[in-house]
């Protein structure tokens, strides 16, 4: 099944060189090669049926009607040895600490702007910079409680940060469900490794949310706020509410009155203390942000500013994961923590900068251009795979609105074997670990490994035909 496996001249998660697996992949390699392909196919079908019957689906929008799909699951696990994980963990903790200090600073005294570490116009022009949050004190001075940071590995295998998702990152439910399915369909493979558990995530999240509750109640009411059943991540919202044992609410279930937020129950109103919101800032409160939003709660921001209800993540964190602010994160780490970044960024050209823009326009064919406010793999130009027209189109867009674009060299990130028909081929993978930042910082040992299932593709987003793998972080060897 590995006969014609190509290493493609990039970092391969499983193989050191052709036919020679890395040490931590040896048991997997051994078991996979000993299975006949019928057996592996059967296991894959078992996994698919299991996902469908459990209703672990996401919605794809097409022809005006949402279709429920299974998030394609790739049975070959991605394995992260303990030593590698230690670095990732430390790097992510450093990063989220700096990002939180940045949010606090930018919405209060703005030292970092006054000392010109980051150009002020970069911040004020960020679409996700929320004036409404200036001088608002948030519980414990924490803004980003839940963060999903995308990592990729370059040619020599070192981890780079591709982006921070500090608004409402999704995918953690798949981390937990993938693990459950993996244990069910390939138990013997799973048992041959000392894999660290990911199941504590919901518990840790709940602890993190409890810390935010206003002092008034010993047993705070915590809710998960979802845009509703038709949202593509609805499954996850419901999953987290279920795992934490809290209510899953929609905007229409909540009501603002006299500085407080209540939920409508069969017995009348009940006061709400903490909202884990899975709705973007824009839709949170029509009185404060987009007036046409019907997903949010009119008055919510008012209650939030009064300190009568807590939000996680805080409003306004989008300023920290703006793609044009991302290049400054290493500078933030040095500025706030006086430390060297443990995880590096991908080199990035900011089109708002004249010199950078000039370089970008001249080298469009070898760069990836991204719109700063888009996510999910939309609004992107893959320079090396583009046509002349597409490049001309992007050149025009960049000149018209330079602030809105950044460019990065094409990183040939790592691949991992995936089952294609009846054999294995290398497919690109990234890694999104989930970080909870409360009184202590917890990086869940594991994460979502997303796979670009199309041959040669560098885009791993589920909306663009990506799948996922179970990610095994190994125990420290004692």
């Amino acid at each position: 099944m590995f006969q014609n496996y190509e290493l493609n001249n990039i970092f391969d998660e499983m193989f050191r060189e052709t036919g020679v697996p890395r040490q931590h992949y040896e048991p997997v390699y051994g078991q996979l090669t000993s299975l006949n392909d019928g057996a592996f196919q059967r296991r894959r079908q078992m996994a698919d049926i299991s996902f469908r019957n459990q209703g672990i689906t996401f919605t794809v929008y097409k022809d005006d009607s949402g279709v429920e799909r299974i998030f394609p699951f790739d049975l070959v696990p991605r394995i992260v040895p303990a030593a590698e994980w230690r670095t990732i963990e430390r790097g992510l903790e450093q990063r989220i600490t700096a990002l939180n200090m940045f949010c606090k600073d930018v919405y209060h005294d703005q030292h970092i702007l006054r000392e010109k570490v980051i150009p002020a116009e970069m911040i004020y022009s960020a679409k996700m910079f929320r004036r409404e949050m200036l001088h608002v004190n948030v519980p414990n001075d924490i803004y980003i409680h839940v963060c999903g940071t995308d990592l990729i590995r370059d040619k020599d295998g070192s981890y780079l940060v591709l982006e921070d998702n500090g608004r409402t990152p999704s995918g953690v439910s798949y981390v937990i469900e993938n693990r459950a399915v993996m244990k069910r369909v390939l138990p013997s493979l799973f048992e041959s490794y000392p894999v660290r558990s990911v199941e504590e995530y919901p518990f840790n999240l709940l602890q993190c949310l409890k810390e935010l509750a206003p002092a008034r109640s010993e047993d705070p009411t915590i809710v998960v706020l979802t845009p509703g059943i038709y949202n593509s991540a609805y499954y996850e919202h419901s999953f987290l509410a279920r795992q934490m044992g809290v209510e899953l609410v929609e905007g229409k279930d909540l009501i603002y009155d006299d500085g407080k937020v209540y939920m409508r129950t069969t017995g009348g109103r009940r006061l709400v203390d903490v909202i884990y919101r899975r709705i973007d800032d824009d839709f949170l409160d029509p009185l404060c942000f987009r007036p046409d939003s019907i997903l949010g709660v009119p008055g919510l921001m008012n209650a939030y500013r009064c300190g009568n209800v807590a939000l996680a993540n805080a409003a306004g964190t989008g300023v920290a994961d703006d793609k044009a602010v991302y290049p400054y994160v290493p500078a933030m780490i040095k500025f706030y923590l006086k430390q060297e970044p443990i995880l590096n960024n991908v080199p990035t050209y900011v089109c708002a900068n004249d010199e950078h823009r000039k370089y970008v326009l001249e080298h469009l064919h070898e760069l990836v251009v991204k719109a700063t406010n888009e996510s999910g793999g939309y609004g992107m130009l893959m320079g090396h795979q583009s046509t002349a027209e597409e490049r001309a189109e992007f050149a025009k867009l960049i000149k018209a609105d330079p602030r809105n674009y950044i460019a990065q060299p094409v990183v040939q990130f790592s691949q991992c074997p995936s089952l294609v028909d009846d054999h294995f081929e290398g497919r690109r993978v990234d890694l999104r670990p989930y970080i909870l930042y409360g009184k202590k910082c917890v990086v869940t040992p594991g994460g979502l490994t997303r796979v670009a299932l199309k041959e040669g593709s560098l885009v791993v987003n589920s909306s663009q035909g990506g799948g996922s793998k179970d990610t095994w972080v190994l125990e420290e060897v004692r």
């Binding site: 279920r242 899953l248 069969t266 017995g267």
Partner: protein, 367 residues
């Protein structure tokens, strides 16, 4: 040290039977006190969740009835042998009437034309036609949609049972298997619904949410039972049917089967299939979980539980309506049942359940 003093205080509390509780210093809460903490008071649930539970349950119950009614009718027609075309139509018309579909444009179209035999047409319409709002598949879809929007409030087992049932009926070969053997696929829907009820009872705490499910299920069952009886009355009285006993027997057996009550009835009346008894059994029996009176009482229990948790000091309008219905049934049982009388009772029941349904809406869902 600290623990010792705490221990002493606890002893005091015990001896004084809590008389001094107010003057006692508050005990520090800690995880291991040697006593199980009192379970927290149940909280009222989200109005939207209550509403979704209610509709999930109603649609599930309706799906079961639709499946059973179609299945039973297939079997009746087999027993009756070759019927004249218009007789067959009459028979299927009564099925459509139970679900109030005979007057909808799609329903009329299905009844009046088509090249395949009418049985197959109607069965397919009732089971898998998405244009038919009460088709089995539409009921299941709506039940599932409701469940999907409140997955955090139902048990995993409930969700997986319902979801698996949905996908089984949604399968590509479902239509094919209906043509080959209606028994197979319709039965799996009926059994699926029963399994769901069992799973619900054994995995969901019997709190307010469960009570909404019970309330909905029993209201739906009352309505469907009423309509089954009503439709059969119409068919038996119409002129084409000579009231031969054998024919009428088959019809009344079908009614009992449609309400899943034939065995219970046989045991109660030792096989005597007198129409009056059948009707009396389906309406007044106190033990059969399929009889209307039983369902009314179960609904009353559910409402009492819900109201107690929501607003303990008030009498819920719903309690009044169901109480009145119970009283009316009590009264009706003492009278002799002729056709007109039965019709009146059925009308009364339907009127009350309709009123009850809108009262629920007002009291609990529209906050």
């Amino acid at each position: 040290m600290a623990e010792k003093t705490e221990g002493k205080e606890r002893v005091n509390v015990k001896r004084d039977w809590g008389m001094q509780t107010q003057s006692l210093p508050k005990l520090k809460p800690s995880t291991f006190q040697g006593r199980v903490p009192r379970s927290p008071a149940t909280r009222p649930m989200l109005a939207r969740v209550a509403e979704s539970l209610y509709w999930m349950s109603r649609y599930m119950e309706r799906a079961e009835h639709v499946g059973r009614i179609v299945l039973v009718n297939f079997n009746v027609l087999m027993d009756l042998g070759d019927l004249a075309q218009n007789m067959q139509e009459k028979q299927w018309l009564s099925v459509m009437r139970i679900l109030r579909l005979h007057t909808t444009p799609e329903g009329m179209q299905i009844l009046s034309q088509g090249d395949r035999n009418i049985g197959q047409r109607v069965a397919e319409f009732m089971a898998f036609d998405t244009r038919n709002r009460s088709s089995l598949i539409n009921c299941l879809t709506k039940a599932r949609e409701n469940a999907r929007s409140i997955r955090e409030s139902i048990s995993v087992e409930m969700w997986e049972t319902l979801n698996t049932l949905y996908w089984a009926q949604q399968a590509d070969d479902a239509k094919q298997s209906l043509a080959e053997s209606p028994q197979q696929i319709l039965n799996s829907a009926i059994m699926g619904s029963l399994l769901f009820q069992g799973v619900t009872d054994q995995t969901l705490p019997h709190g307010q949410g469960w009570q909404f499910i019970q309330l909905a299920k029993h209201l739906e069952r009352i309505e469907m039972t009423c309509r089954v009886i009503e439709a059969k009355f119409d068919i038996l009285k119409s002129q084409e049917w000579a009231l031969e006993t054998s024919l009428s027997n088959i019809q009344w057996m079908a009614v009992l089967r449609s309400c899943s009550s034939i065995e219970a009835f046989r045991r109660r009346y030792v096989g005597d299939l007198d129409p009056q008894r059948v009707v009396a059994f389906l309406i007044f029996d106190k033990e059969s979980p399929r009889s209307i009176r039983y369902c009314v009482r179960e609904a009353q229990k559910a409402v009492a539980g819900i109201a107690m948790a929501a607003h303990p000091l008030e009498i819920d309008p719903l309690e009044r309506i169901l109480g009145r219905l119970d009283g009316q049934l009590e009264l009706a049982e003492t009278r002799e049942l002729n056709s007109a009388g039965v019709k009146m009772v059925l009308e009364q029941i339907l009127e009350n359940t309709g009123e009850a349904a809108s009262a629920i809406q007002r009291s609990y869902f529209l906050h």
